[in-house]
Amino acid sequence: MRSLLPILLLCAAACSGGADPALPAGAPAPDFALPGADGKTHSLADYANSALLAVVFTCNHCPEAQLYEARIKKLHDDYRGKGLAMVAINPDNPASLTPGELGYTDVGDSLGEMRTRAAYRGIDYPYLYDGDTQAVARAYGVTALPHIYVFDRERKLRYQGRIDDNVSGPLVHKQHARNAIDALLTGRPVPVAQTVASGCPVKGLSKTAGAATEAAKTGAEPVTVSMAGADDMKKLRANGTGKLLLVNFWATWCGPCVTEFPDLLTTHRMYRGRNFEFVSVSINDPEDRPQVLAFLQQRQAPGPNLQFATSDISALQAAFDPLMPAAVPFTLLIAPNGDVLHQQLGETDILKLRRAILAGLPDDKYPGLQAYWSGHVDSVTGLSEERGKP
């Protein structure tokens, strides 16, 4: 009973907006026909031959969903040979997500971005997109992501709710979804038929206004540029900010610099709520200050924005780092101790950069996410220890 309280509290946060009624136990599986990350359309009938069907609502951007991703994959791997079909559905409307809500992700929740994530993480079960209308999520009564529904041979709902009882893999006590599937496979009654899903609320169509508000707020931030000399460059390289520091050297005349800049700003808006900072450094001649400022203002670059204080570009570059290449754009990610975690001469591969940032940010609210982005799937599951237990 003690563990019920936090669940109820989570629900108060997660379920407050959810007006759609929960699918009752025994209800038939609501039909769907949705586009998948694999480029095909998937419908309920496609899985008619499977003994059991698990429908998991999950998404890209949500840290809880990321922490459960490997567990969902494991569930699929462990039970696909025993007659379980699994379908993941992303119900989030990508336009409803503000950059500030993307602090734990490299991509948003559009179908194209699902494709990117599926390829990056090797997701091999169907991953479908419901974000345009969210009709399927409504029919299922999804309350939070991830939210799993297990249907029996007759496609009647036999379990719905959480996958297990703790977002931290090693702390899992009760394998709700596994228990339900095991029971169904052996003809036993499902021990617990319903739990309350917890995680991220579904990003609804009605929240699009929020994105606009945040954009308007971003626009209102004052944009300035400070002239930076050799000492400032040395300081910048040493990174005394205590944060993970992204530095981008650019120039107004540099094509790739100008075109990649909005992506870097978006990246900044995504992670600035965390232990992260972005500094832009224009290597333009000091005389170009008006053009540099106009460019930064037009793109609403919150800064700090620096510009080389003298025309002696090579001296300032050497002051930053004797190993710094002279050409632009040059982008690098510096740890609080001054280590270079990522660098790119020429245009940045923005996803590669975001993944380096995510892998470089220490875990704050969600233990295991740094490992997720460092590419160590196994350490995230915690299941290898858990699974063999009675």
Binding site: G255, L341, H376
Partner: protein, 457 residues
Amino acid sequence: MSQRTRVPFRRPVSIAVCAVFVCATIALAWPQSHPPSREVKSGALWRDVSPKPRRGEGGPRAAHTNQLRKSFSAASQPASPAQGRGRGIQPNEHPILPIGAPVPDFSLPGIDGKMHKLSEYTRTKFLAVVFECNHCPMSQLYESRVDRLYREYRGKGVTFVAINPNNPKSIRLNEQGYTDVNDSLEEMKIRAKFRGREWPYLYDGETQAVSIKFGVVATPHIYIFDQDRKLAYQGRIDDNHREDLVKSHDARNALDALLAGRPVPVAQTGAFGCTTKWMSKASGVEEEWAKIQAEPVTLDLVGVDDLKKLRANGTGKVLLVHFWSTGCATCVSQFPDLETTFRMYRLRSFDFVTVSTDPPGDPAVLAFLKKQYASSPNKQFAGTDASAAQAAWGAKWKAGSPFTMVIAPDGSVLYQKEGKLDILEMRRAILANMPDTKAYFGQQAYWQSAVADKKRK
């Protein structure tokens, strides 16, 4: 030309394939670029936390809290997984040829239509290989300085060879804001003719194999080889792209030292300019075209007063205005080049407005614009009398012909043409008059002087 106009019409390859490729690249690159993150993973976060806390020890919630506390204390540590290793800036993906290394062999097509091999240059005392290209403003800016080096040193036993390392297919339209043409061999010929280049200019964009051997960082990047064809200097031409501020003539110093039999004072400097457009890197050309296709296409009716306002050019930008109609074959055939021009220059102080003189209400106009993905501001004259439009504009042209004008921010006419356009001539007129580079380093002068030279001839 043909190269550039073809690019936008290539079908985007499957995004899925692209994503898989990108991700595969990342997956391969990851262990090398972040080897120590393994230490983080083995981290204290999971291993020492018992999955089954006993009663009386706080239960799962307390354990979870402990764990969170641990992770928070981890957060106060330096974030770097490479902690203690002092990982600094790494060398480029294609390492620069080291000083003393023999000159890499090459056999490349030149603007003269011939193949040029390293073996052609055995007789000369010293060999300077300069990597340059068409599209990069920094390369353009250094072009005349390099040409002067060539003229001064050719009589002293130094041979100059220029090589373009870029593949034009890796260069997006929005990276071509400072150029009339892209970086293909055919376009190199056009540029060389326009700028009067006399010495070999070779194309390595097909495979980039030579550029990889040299480790070309940027355009321009100069490599000077001694009598034994060992690398004696590599890097920048001089220390400032603004010629009036140059203090150290690095390439010249190296040549002078070699000619005098002295050691080269500074053998290596950082090449400054536009980074090499490696084919191995995702260029975003397909993504750009997909984005262009998704841009909204609109058409607004305009009256006599609107046209007068447009002619006065209150935009503060260089304004290209093009009168056209769907029934005019020349208009239809040259329209894609004009839209391409818009996509090339629109990030600069430039705008493009099309004005259709078709009868108002003709659905063919918007249909054509949509087919062209013409996301430029498009207008249609609301009157039925095309001569009224001409009167409002203050110019006369043959009805049914296209009419094109480039207008300066102050309203003066920079270029105008009735009938078929020479698109390169028009682009050069635009580039020579872009106001935002005036205070800067002479890109405008590059185009102005060439335009002036042309006129003189």
